[in-house]
Symmetry: C2
DNA sequence: ACCTGAACACCGTTCAAGT
DNA sequence: ACCTGAACACCGTTCAAGT
């Protein structure tokens, strides 16, 4: 006699993600996720392989959303404006999903999620090729991504403490970096 | 009758730090630290207030070392060369203490450690003032720090996957950013 | 003054038993 | 086919008892 499913993999992922963003990584426990979806903890193992697997599935969803958002930011118009739209969209997404974003780019992030997040690099790389040429496109893209990621992490960690406007520093940083790269 | 101390706060911090770097944050448990210093877990509470406090003490040590290393990198000579030496020393330190570095700049890092790590910003800010002038010194310093931090985190997370030499990308990034800022 | 074993409330995970 | 309670080995932390 088959028993009806009280939950689903998608519901488990959504509950885990909500818990992660609301209360942080330590609050993402199998028992709390089970509570949220209305089953007991052992039942979760019928839908995900375990806690690490649940985190991987959450971060893969997040990486896919990030990729989609970055591709929407590309207009195929002026490459410099495209880069600016991509970095702004990137920061906005990280601000809306701070806990997941932090895990996605932390040491020990699940391989599957990291490789999924790499798919957004193609759009940036083609815009950078239009700006700096093919020879420098890769290090130039790495410069932009490193700056954006570092800025976002420091902003979220509360590491900008000397006053001044954070949005102004963001504008300053991306425009100066693009000035430095855009010399053709 | 007083009992002799089998360990000390310094030994507990050192054991915890070694465990953190060797096996990662999840391996930093009170019972394993106790094993490493030769006592039982409850005895650790005579030396540190708990696990969070131990992490705070470890990261404060790390932040102090980072500050000292950055100050040693300053020669009071050419400001651009000083910034270059500081960023290189920063990356080297993060490479030698990757797990602690990651925690120090993560969301939810202990307040005491974050504020200690801020003390290195004075030296960078004065070098940047010499390069871009007082009006832009703060956003310029934030641009350099954000880029360096982001580069290091992505490097350590294994997020640079499109080939190419990482050291070349590091040189490219810092030199182009300094070119963009050094326009006086 | 510090160390200890026992205990508590958690945690991830396994597994036999239920429907 | 999925859900459950019981159990196991962990975890941080408390506390009375030892010296």
């Amino acid at each position: 006699v088959p028993a009806p499913a009280h939950t689903s993999t998608a519901a488990v992922i959504a509950a885990g993600r909500a818990l992660l963003e609301r209360d942080g990584p330590d609050a993402l426990t199998m028992r709390r996720v089970a509570d949220a979806v209305g089953v007991r903890a052992p039942s979760l193992y019928k839908h995900v392989a375990g806690r690490d697997d649940l985190i991987r599935l959450i971060l893969e969803d997040v990486a896919d959303e990030l990729t989609a958002i970055l591709q929407e930011a590309v207009s195929m118009g002026a490459p410099r404006a495209d880069v600016r739209r991509m970095t702004d969209a990137y920061r906005r997404f990280a601000g809306q999903n701070p806990a997941a974003y932090g895990l996605l780019f932390a040491r020990g992030a699940p391989e599957g999620a990291v490789s999924r997040s790499q798919r957004s690099s193609a759009a940036l790389l083609s815009a950078m090729t239009a700006i700096v040429g093919p020879a420098d496109a890769l290090p130039a893209a790495r410069t932009v991504v490193a700056w954006a990621h570092g800025f976002i992490m420091m902003e979220q960690a509360g590491a900008f403490r000397l006053g001044g406007d954070i949005d102004t520093a963001w504008d300053f940083g991306i425009e100066r970096i693009l000035d430095a790269l855009d010399t053709r």
